[in-house]
Structure formats: C-alpha cells, structure tokens
Symmetry: D2
Subunit: 130 residues, 4 copies
C-alpha cells in the first residue's frame, strides 16, 4: 500500500541558493506522515491526549535533485517494517518523473515519559503494517 | 530603560533574495522580548504554568534595510506604554549604525481562556513600565 | 476586487502554545501576495530577472484569534492604495466566520540597488490599482 | 580534530510538543558546518561566487533525547571520510552529558551545473581530511 499527498513549494521555503532548504524537506515528510496516519484512521490526537506519542527515532534522507519555488511535489509514504513498538516508513518526494528526496523514517510508539511502549491493541491498525 | 541582546544571522534564515526573510525578523523580536522579560525578572514560565500568557495583539514593523548572512545584529527593546492589562514595546534591530528594522509590539496579559485580564500584583514588575 | 487563496495549517507551523506562531502568518501573507500577483498577471519572475523587485516596506498585523493545526484558512488580499512607486494591500486571514489576522502591507517597487523606482509602464497593470 | 560551536534553543524553534522540532536540528547542523568551514579557512563564499558549491547528498540523523527552550547545546563536527569529490562528517549535538542528536552528513563538491567535481587544489585544505 502507498499513501500519497501533494504540495506546492512556497517561496519562503527556499534558501539563498534558490532551492528548497534541506531542513524543509523534513517538514514536508512530517506533513505527509500526518496525512498517512489520517488516511489509515490512526487516532493521533486521541493518542497524544492520552499521553502517548509517535516519536521519530531516526531519519535517513538522500537529496537526489533540488526543488524550486512553485514546484508541484508528490510525496509517497510506504510501510517498510513494523514491530511491536516501532516501525519504518519509506518516503519519497517526486516532481513529475524526478525523485527529489528519498527517506527512511524509523518511529517508536512512546508513553508519557517518552519510553518506547507496545501500541495498545485498538490502535494497532492494519495500515501500520507493510 | 533599554534592554539589549545580540544575535548573528544564520544562512538558513535568509531567502532566495539572499537576505533575512521578512517573517524571520518576528522570530528575532520574539527572542529579544524573551530576553527582556528575563532581564526584568518576569516569571514567564510560572505565568504560563499558571494558565496565564502574554498575548501579542499587534505588531507594526518597518523594514529599513536588509540583513545578510553573518550580520551581527543588536536588538534594543524599550517600554513605550503600560496599562492595566496591556502595553506597547518599541523594538529596533541595528547592524552597526544602520537600522535594519523598527517595530512596535502591543501585548496583552491574558487568562487561560485568552481573555485580557489584569496582571496579578506580584508580577506587575517595575520593568514592565516605561 | 478581492483575491482569495486558501491553505491548511500544518503541525510544524505551530509553536509550544499549540497555535500558529506569530511569524508564520507573515509567511502565509507572503504566499497570498504571490498568488495575488499571479492572478493579476504580474510577471514577477521576469521583474526579478530584470533586476527589479517588490520590496515590503511595512507590515502592520493585528492578531485577532489563534489558528490551530488542520485549520482551513482563507486569505483575502485587497488593494487599498496605489502610487507611482508604491502601494498598500489589505490582507485578512479568515477561518470560517472568524477573523484570525488582519494586516496592512506597504510595498515599494525597487531597482537593482534597492532604491524605490517608478514601475515600468508595461508592468503597471490594472490589478495593482484599487 | 573536532570543531565545536554552541547555541541556545529559542522558543520559536520548538513545536506543539514543547521540544525542538525534528527539522530544526538540520538547521543547527547546517550552522555548525558553516562554523567548521570557517574555522578550517575554507573560502565558502569565494567558492559559491565561482559557481561551485558543497551539496549535501545525504543526512542520517538519530534523535536520542529531546531538547527544550533555553537549552544550551554544543555541536561537535568531525571529519569521518574524505574522497576526491566528496566526504562524510559526523555531527553530534550535546546538552551537558546528554547526546541530543547524532548525525552523519555526506557532502559532494559540485560545479555550477550541480555535477560532482574534483575540489580545486587550492581549496583542498587539510581541515577537510580526517
């Protein structure tokens, strides 16, 4: 399963080199993970209100080709791995047929103290699995 | 009384035109207001934990001259007015003898519902007055 | 004439208070001005390539009501004034029937040295006038 | 050899969870790489003016422990590898004895078309090597 969303690059997201700043892609990927969680029905705000969270433990990101103001980007999120307390997503940002950025994001489900913890059964949804 | 702090422009704060993005100056001014509150002994975190807040109601900002990566900026914060529930600060960003930005910031003390409210006596410090 | 665009608040645009950071609204307004310029046919990139620019000289912004993650915002841009080298826009950010932010933005047309200069006739489009 | 710089977390760099947003650490690391290049005497602006650039090809970042407003952070940059056209840096962000973030950053020297190219001899400084 693949989850897609799109966005258009805004001028203020670009730096002195005229292209999207490296850090901004992490914002884009965070946005896309939020859209993915919504589309699989994961009750993120309920989890946060309950003191839980999805902690990002690691991001490995390859910058393949720069993006520019007004570019229409398509972000594809795929589940690569899923364990009892954590998982890995693959996220790719495309512009037309170009790959702009390719990333692997490892997350962990954490309790109110930030310690990794098993996802409660009712939130362990099919969409979290590959 | 004037309250001063300094900072150096970082590359990622600059936009495609090579100078500090207009919105970033509001971050700088927020930082300087935080330094001002610390220097007058205002217990900001205690107020926030108590459900109060300093809400920014209005900012009028004049962009006088652009700032560039590595520029050393000096931010001067002055109290212009102070009423029972609100006040106005003047904030100026300097680079050497140049004025980069001049701003007037109106704040209000608010309760947990965001409604303007009288500042409790123990927090109504001399440094809040002109 | 009014020019409208919309956007949805992203989580990373919100600060520790849970609402959109004051500086981020300036990004939103910049985005909306870009959309306005496109809709009136102003050749912004041609102007920039030709060494010209639209410099923002002043922004006065009133924060009326906070915005939160996922809020759908509507930004309305209106021309208030237009002179030979500068002008003033009114920009309002709405969420449903609430006003989130109200702003007045003064711009100047500048040459390659950043000095205010008369807009060349072919770019002095009807949409720049009230 | 290790290159160090320090910074203090500003409120607006923190997100709704009260800690530094994941993307902001990439800004911090970019800042620290700039300080490192200055300290080894690399003529970065001359290189950029000459049409060259240091392109970040890959970042792998491990989030070890969250950082909060006012935290004093120390960023250590080390050279791990150096080839003819590219290299790898190790960057660690510390708060006291805690590790906040650990990263590996792969860069490539590129020409005006963005193609990896051999670093001109006069810029191939000792500080670029492990």
């Amino acid at each position: 399963m693949e989850y897609e969303c799109t966005l258009r690059v805004r001028t203020y997201e670009c730096d002195v080199y005229g292209h999207v700043n490296n850090a901004v892609y992490l914002n884009y990927l965070e946005y896309a993970r939020g859209e993915y969680l919504k589309s699989i029905g994961f009750p993120y705000l309920t989890a946060v209100d309950g003191g839980y969270g999805l902690y990002v433990a690691r991001i490995a990101i390859d910058y393949k080709s720069p993006a520019f103001p007004e570019d229409e980007l398509r972000i594809v999120t795929r589940v690569l791995k899923k364990g009892a307390v954590s998982g890995t997503l693959g996220q790719t940002i495309h512009r037309g047929s170009d790959v702009v950025v390719q990333a692997e994001v490892t997350w962990a489900f954490v309790d109110s103290k930030g310690a990794p913890t098993r996802i409660p059964k009712e939130w362990d949804l099919p969409g979290l699995k590959p």
